[in-house]
Symmetry: D2
Subunit: 339 residues, 4 copies
C-alpha cells in the first residue's frame, strides 16, 4: 500500500531451476530461495528478465510465485513480475499475486512492439487505476519499450498505487533525472537499479536499492556492497564494486542472458537443469569454458573450490583473459544496440 | 510439404476485429476474410505482427486461425503465425495448425531477449527437426532477434521443412544476399518481403511475393502492383508503388502500429472495435485526424467517400501535408532505431 | 547551371594513388583517370568518401581536382567534393572548383557534430544562396548529419543552384520518398545513389544514376549494369547486380573503408601506395588475404590473372567463403550502426 | 612528461568568442581565460568539441592555443586539442603545441569514417611513438570512432607518452572497466570524464577529474562540486550534482551543441558573437527562449540578474518546464543515437 515504507535494499531476481524434462524443479527452487534468504537478500523478485518470464506459460508464471510465497512465509517481501499479454490479463495476474500476499508487482513496459511514451503512459495508467496491489514500473529499454522521465513523473503524480521504478538502463544521469522529477512530489516512491555494474554509484546518487541478477549468484557480495555503500565506507565499497563488475561482465556478456548466471548458480551448488532456449554445440562448449572461469572467480572469494587443474595465478585478474572478456563485452554491447 | 510449389504472391497479414468488450468479433472477422479473398489476395497470414499476435492469449491465437481456416475452406492457402513461449509450446501450436490444414506456419525469431545468431539457429533447428508442417522463418529485426544470412543459409540446407523466409527489414541488399546464399541449393525456398514500401523493387530483384499489411486495407492496389511488376510493366508499376508508399507511410508512421491500418480497414467498411493497447486522449484525437487523411487517400482511389467537409484539392498530394507526414515518418524511424 | 541537363549515369568516386612517401602520386592518378574514362564511366567524382577527402589538407584537395580537370579535358563532367571546415571555407572551395570548370560540386552535410534537420537546412541554404556553381547535396547518414526528405524538398524549392542529391543510405523507400517530394516541382533535379548493392533497383524506382565506388574498380561491370537496367533487360541486369553485390560486399566489409577498394584497384594494374590511415600488423595480413580473394573474383571476369596457387573451383561462389564474408558484412553493419 | 604528476581536476573546454565578422575575437578570448582562471578552474582545454575545433582552419586552431598559452602564462596547465587531417599533420600540431609549453595534447580518435578498434589502435600507436608531448586519448563515441577498453589498455602499456584518457561516453561501468584494466600497470595514467551529468559519481568510482563544458559557464559550481566530492561531503555534493544536471541538460539538449553553452557564457558577460554554423529563423527564436530560461537558472545562483519580466516562482524548478526540457532531452538523445 502507498502508506507503507519505501521499497529498499536488494531484491533478488531469482532464476528458476529446471528438472531433466525442462519443467520447474520445485524442490530445488525452494532450497534456492532458502539459501538466498539466509545470505541476506532483502527481497525476492520472481518473473523478472533473469527469471526468464517470457519462456514460461501463464500458469507456470503463477506457480513460480506461488511456490516462492509459500516457501518465503513472510521472511522477506516479494516483488512479483506480472506482465501478461494485455492489460486485462496483466490485471488478472495482479489480482492473483495480491492474493498470495506479495509486497508489490513489477510490470515491464509493453514489448515486441516498440511503443511511444504516450502509449506506455496509457498502458500503465490503465493498470494503475485498477490494480489491487502496489506496482513497480520496470524500465529495460534494451528489451522493452522505454519508460521515459516525463512518463514516470506523470504516473507517479496520478497513480498512488504506482510506488517505484526498477530501471535497468544503467545510466546514472537518467536515474538522477528521474529522482529530480519525482521525489519532490512523491517521497514514498522508490528507485531501484537493475544494473549491477553501477550499483554503488547509483546508491550514492540517491537510489534506494537494486534488483540485481548477481545477487542470485553471490548474495554475500551484493549485500556487502550495499551495506558498505550505505555506510559511506567508499574505499571499501569501490573495491567490491570493481570486483563485481568483473564477475557481472563475465556472466552477462560471455553467454546468452541469463545462461552465465545459471552456470554460476550451478557452481554454488544448485542443480539448474538445462535452459529452455536451445544451444548450439559451439555454445555448449563456450558455456563449459565460461563455467570454468566463473569457478575460478568464485573460488577466489571462497565460494567454491577451484576447478580440477587449478586456476591461473592472480585469480581472475589475468590481464589477457580480462582483455578477451572485455572484447566479448563490447561485441555484445554492440549487438544489443547499446553502443 | 517440401515437394509443394514455392510460396508466392501476396499473403495478407490480416487484422482481427474486436467487439465492444474487446473480444474477437468472429462474424466481422469472417466477413473480412471473404472480402479479402474476393479482392484477390493470394493467401492469408493470421497471427502476424499486423494481427497483434502478442496481445492475444494462447487460446485466442488458436481460435483466430481456426475461424479463418473454417471460413476460407481452401480457397486460398493459410500461413499461420505459430510462435509461442518456447520450443515445446511452439511445436504444440504447429501441430494444432497442421491439423487445421494450413499451408505452412510462420515463426518469428525469439523476442524480448535479443539473441545471437547461434541461439537463433539452435531455436529454429530444434523446430525444423520436429515440426509436422512447413515452416516460414520470420525476420523482423525491429521487433525480434535478427535472423542473419548465414543462419538462413544453414537452416535451409539442414531442414527440409523450413521452406521460406518472410523478411520485414525492407533492405534490398539484404534480400539479395539471402537469395544468393540460399537459392542455388534450395530452388524451392521462397522469399517474401514484409515491407510494402519496397514491394516492386523486391520482386524485381527476385522475391516471390510479400506479406504486406497494406494488402489488408487496399488488396486491389497490392494485387495490381504485384501483377504489373510480374508482367514487367515497370512504368505503371512504379506509379502504383509510389502511391502505395504514400499510403503505407501514413498508416505505419502516424499512429502506433497497427492502429493506422485498423483505422483504414474501418474506412473500408468493417467494424474494427477498440484495440487492446490503451490510447491516451491525445492519441485518440490524433487517430481521428489520421482517419480523415486516410479517408481522402482512399476516396481518391474510389474506395470510399470523401469525409464530410471534403478533401484538400489535389487529394493527398498536398505538399505541406506530405512534408508533415514525412517528418512524422522520420521521427518514428528514429524512435524505432531504424535511422 | 540549372538549365543544363539533369545529372545522370555513373560518376566514379575515384581513389587517389599515393607515392612511397604517402604523397599524391600525380602521374598514376592521371593514368587512372584515363583508364576510367576509356572504360565508359559517365563522370568523375573526386574528394568523395572513397577519395578519402578528410585525410587530405585543404591544398591537397584542390590539387586533386585540379589534376583531374586538367587530365579530363572535358571528356566527362566532374563532380567535385567541396566540403571544408565551415560555410565560408566551403564557398571558397566552390569558387575555386568553378574556376576549374567542374560540372557541379558535391557537399556533404556537416559531420563530427550530428546536426538537426534545421541546422542542415540552414547550412545548405547559406551555401545555395552564394554558390557560383551547381551543388549536389551529399547524404551519407553513416558518416555525417542526415539530410532528411523535408530538407531536400525545401532546399530544392528555394535554391535553383542545388540541382541534385547523392544518397548513400541505400534505402529504397527513402529514395522513393525523396523523388515523390521533389520531382513534381523540380523535374531537373537529379537523384544519384551511392550504394552499389542496390544500383539496379534504385534505377528501376527512378534514380538517375550513381556515384559508386565499385565503378573505380570494375567500370566495365557498373557500366554494363547501368546499360542493361536502363534498357529494361531485367534478367541480365539482375545477374550482374547479384555478382556486384558479392564483389562490393567483399571490398566494403572485409577491410577498413576504402582499403578494400584500394586493394582491388591495385590488382587492376595501378600502384596505389600505402594509405594514410595506419594499419596494425594483423590488419595488413588480413588485407593481403582479401587481396587474394579479390584477385580470384576479378580473374573470373577476366580482369586479371588468377593468383599464384590458383583459385577455389567455382570461383568466388564458394559457399563457405561467401558465408564467412557475409558474417563479416553483418559484423561491420552492426559496428557502423546500420543494423 | 610521463614522470610528471597525474592530470587531475577540472580542465575547462573553453569556447571561442567571435567578432562581428565571425573571426576569432582575441581580446574577448583573453578576458574570458582570465575570468575562468580567477574562478578556480584547474586547467584549460582549447580545441575540444566545445571549442568547435572542426569549424576552424588549421591556422586558426594554432592561433587559439597560442593566444591562450600567452594569456595563461603558466598559471594553469593547458591541454591542447591537436587532431588534424592525418597522422603527419597531427604530429606537426603536437610539435607546435609542445613549443608553446602545453602540459599535454588531447587527440580525438579518427572521425567521419567510423574505424575499427584495430585502426584506432594503429593510429594512436603511430602518434604515441612519435609525439614530442604527452598525449591524452579522447573518446567521444557519439562523434568519433570509439576507443575501446582493450585499446586503451594496450596503448597505455606500450606508449609512455600516452598519459590519460578523456572519456565523454558518460557510462560509469565503462569508466570502471578502463580503470580496472589500466591502473594496475600505469598508476600515473589519468582518467577524465567529459560528461558533466555524471561528474560526482565518476569521481567517486575513481576518476581523476573532468573536462566539463559546464565549467566554462559556471566554473564556481563545477569547482564546488569537485571539491565537495573529493572531500566526501556526499549529501552536499549530491545536491550540487542534481542542480548541475538541470543546467547541463538545458544547455546541451535545448540547442545545437555548443550553442546552449555559448548563450550561457554570453549571460555571464562575454560577447560571444554569432556562431559559424548558420541557424534557421526558428532556431534563432528557440535560442532566445533558451537564453531566457538559462538567465533564470543563473540568476537563481546569483550569477546574473533575472531577465526583464522576471522568472517563474520556484526558479527553474517549474515542473512543466522541466518536463518540457526533459522531453527535448529525450528527443535529442534519440537523435544522437544514444537511446
Amino acid at each position: 500500500m502507498a502508506n507503507q515504507q519505501r521499497l529498499a535494499g536488494i531484491f533478488t531476481p531469482n532464476l528458476v531451476p529446471y528438472d531433466h524434462k525442462g519443467e520447474i524443479n520445485e524442490s530445488e527452487l525452494r532450497r534456492y530461495i532458502d539459501w538466498l534468504i539466509e545470505r541476506g537478500v532483502h527481497g525476492l523478485y520472481p518473473n523478472g528478465s533473469t527469471g526468464e518470464f517470457t519462456r514460461f506459460t501463464v500458469e507456470e508464471r503463477r506457480r513460480i510465485v506461488s511456490i516462492i510465497a509459500d516457501q518465503t512465509r513472510g521472511r522477506v517481501p516479494i516483488l512479483a513480475g506480472a506482465a501478461e499479454a494485455n492489460v486485462k490479463e496483466t490485471l488478472a495476474a495482479c489480482e492473483y499475486y495480491a492474493g498470495l500476499g506479495v509486497r508489490a508487482v513489477a510490470i515491464v513496459a509493453p514489448f515486441y512492439y516498440k511503443l511511444s511514451p504516450a502509449s506506455v503512459y496509457a498502458y500503465f495508467k490503465e493498470i494503475g487505476r485498477n490494480t489491487p496491489v502496489d506496482v513497480t514500473l520496470y524500465n529495460i529499454p534494451m528489451f522493452a519499450s522505454p519508460i521515459d522521465v516525463p512518463t514516470v513523473q506523470r504516473l507517479s503524480e496520478e497513480c498512488e498505487r504506482i510506488v517505484a521504478i526498477k530501471d535497468s538502463s544503467g545510466e546514472i544521469p537518467h536515474m538522477i533525472r528521474m529522482i529530480r522529477a519525482v521525489r519532490p512530489n512523491r517521497p514514498d516512491f522508490a528507485f531501484l537499479t537493475g544494473w549491477d555494474a553501477a550499483l554503488m554509484p547509483m546508491i550514492l546518487v540517491g537510489c534506494d536499492g537494486g534488483t540485481n541478477a548477481s545477487s542470485g549468484v553471490v548474495p554475500e557480495i551484493t549485500r556487502k556492497l550495499y551495506d558498505l555503500t550505505m555506510a559511506q565506507r567508499l574505499d571499501e565499497a569501490r573495491k567490491v564494486q570493481y570486483d563485481l563488475v568483473g564477475l557481472f561482465d563475465t556472466m552477462i556478456y560471455s553467454a546468452e542472458f541469463p545462461d552465465g548466471f545459471r552456470a554460476a548458480v550451478q557452481l554454488r551448488g544448485f542443480n539448474m537443469g538445462v535452459g529452455r532456449q536451445p544451444l548450439s554445440a559451439e555454445q555448449q562448449t563456450d558455456l563449459a569454458a565460461l563455467s570454468r572461469s566463473l569457478q575460478c572467480m568464485l573460488a577466489e572469494h571462497g565460494f567454491t573450490n577451484e576447478p580440477v587443474g587449478g586456476c591461473p595465478p592472480g585469480g581472475n585478474v589475468n590481464t589477457a583473459e580480462v582483455g578477451e572478456i572485455v572484447q566479448k563485452v563490447l561485441a555484445e554491447l554492440k549487438r544489443r544496440g547499446l553502443m
